[in-house]
Symmetry: D3
Subunit: 128 residues, 6 copies
């Protein structure tokens, strides 16, 4: 329905964000996600600025943040998101062992979340 | 529909798992989750053994694993799971700042997951 | 935001559906679900007629259908639906053992669904 | 990101589980799901052992369990899981009519789950 | 597992619904969705009748209804549904600008839904 | 785990956002959602700025945007979000009839989304 906005077509706000993405990430090609969001320049700008602010080093290191991002994406069944942020996690230093352990936690949590709903478990006082 | 199996009612496999939970966790009271699973002793045993194996220190430290667990639970909208594993995360050393940053990643990932579905973004060759 | 439409307030299409619910189910009080849907008489009628048609004995017996209904409701985290259809399942003959085994399948399926998404498993030729 | 572990590459725990899968199922080729899980031999072992324990005949027959498994997989939008367990259900004796009725229950339950959330229906006393 | 029922194979109830779809929509080819549902003629009939009743002009215009339909489909990650109802929305008069704004609302709502779950926000008195 | 940040405790960025919320919305009390987000002033600021930008009149009118927001919230089972944005929709002019029709679309879309997954419907050429 929408088409990617290629770099050579980018102008104004889109061009600026594209430059920032390439500079901040040290990459030479804009991923499809941003090239699709560019159909809505305000959404592109909001999403890129949020990503930069949220994923940078803080109390959590960037690798941990990427692993959390992938865990959510798996839970939502988003293939693009799972693949692109697994890639980002590895680029920032995540090992295969770390990714496999993250996956096991995701599997376990999804199972236990449903056991809680199935047995209608009440919240213990200590957790409130 | 089902009722919690209290410690004083526990026998056999259930009693053994309860003892193991208290010993491994250094707690004196069994949380409601396990007391409900005890209605199905095999499920209780499988779930507890998986949890012990998955959540222990490995390539990822236990705090990171708990944060990933909470991220999945938020995404699934499971209140009990969010509360109990936030509690566990803090007990194992997570700070409020770490939890707040995890939440921001979860919010961002949920938004971007849906933008990907909305714009039907194709997977870049580099991520395959 | 909306309020239940009580039996004494019911007129026309709503009154007819209420009578049919009581007659078909052998109950004397309309559950809250139908009393809320009654705010939109067409939705009430469509939903009740679909339910009657879908949940009746066919190639699958009514207990199996109720268990499948509960399995979906757990997966969606719908408390009302889980409770009301577990009740229905038991009324139609489901035992506690059957319900507990259904829950274990739900837990397992939810875990494996996510492992498939995590490892991006390709569909085997034989399953196509 | 990960690759399937083929049978000829399998050693130790992975090889053992592969043999058990082929023997228990009476198949000659390992499905992709297990060949991907084999990247994490502990997860492979846990998942296979759980599956064997949960899906075997108990208070519910194996066909009913497979249908419940498929119902959850449809609800989660997992194509691999829907296809592979529909296949398993048919192999164990499910007819096309049974599968179509299961699908109708899944459609209905998903709709009604959302009507409950939309109208914020309160749990009737009788269901508590 | 199931195959599409082509127009030339359609008989009885299926043929009638196919004619109604073509007439009501002013199209000459039945979309795959209906050709798959035709495997279960009762489900086909129920689903088509519900769609006709729900999506027609009422207090909301048909374009708004299609946009809401797409918003739900994005949230559920259903590619077919997102594509087919975006197509329908445009055919009924939705502009690209309207679709892009709908997408931004969907992204925002999905993020905020999870922030609410993360912070366990209590419902304000005014909203009850 | 976190507590609401009350207006009298608000300083700096939080105080500024609180003032903007009250001014823009013409309300005298800050809803709990914002008082919880205030635990993370950057998230509060990002979320409020996005909301203001996304929900204002554009190609879609504010009522339609609120209805789309509610449709997503119902689909995600978020009670707070469903209640607060139904309230907002009505305040901006949505009638009960509009809300009920939106709910019917949400119910229908959720059902059909799952029928598509169940029958593994392929995307028609015309929708690509």
């Amino acid at each position: 329905m929408f088409k990617t906005i290629e770099e050579k077509e980018a102008t104004g706000k889109v061009k600026e964000v594209y430059e920032d993405i390439k500079g901040s990430r040290g990459i030479t090609e804009i991923p499809n996600f941003w090239k699709m969001l560019a159909n809505d320049p305000n959404e592109l700008e909001r999403s890129w600025n949020s990503l930069k602010q949220v994923m940078r080093k803080g109390a959590l290191d960037p690798v941990t943040k990427e692993l959390i991002y992938v865990a959510v994406s798996i839970t939502n069944g988003c293939e693009y998101c799972t693949r692109s942020h697994s890639y980002a996690a590895k680029k920032k230093g995540a090992t295969d062992e770390m990714i496999k352990e993250m996956i096991s936690v995701v599997g376990l949590a999804n199972k236990n979340n449903k056991l809680v709903d199935a047995y209608q478990v009440e919240v213990d006082e200590i957790y409130k």
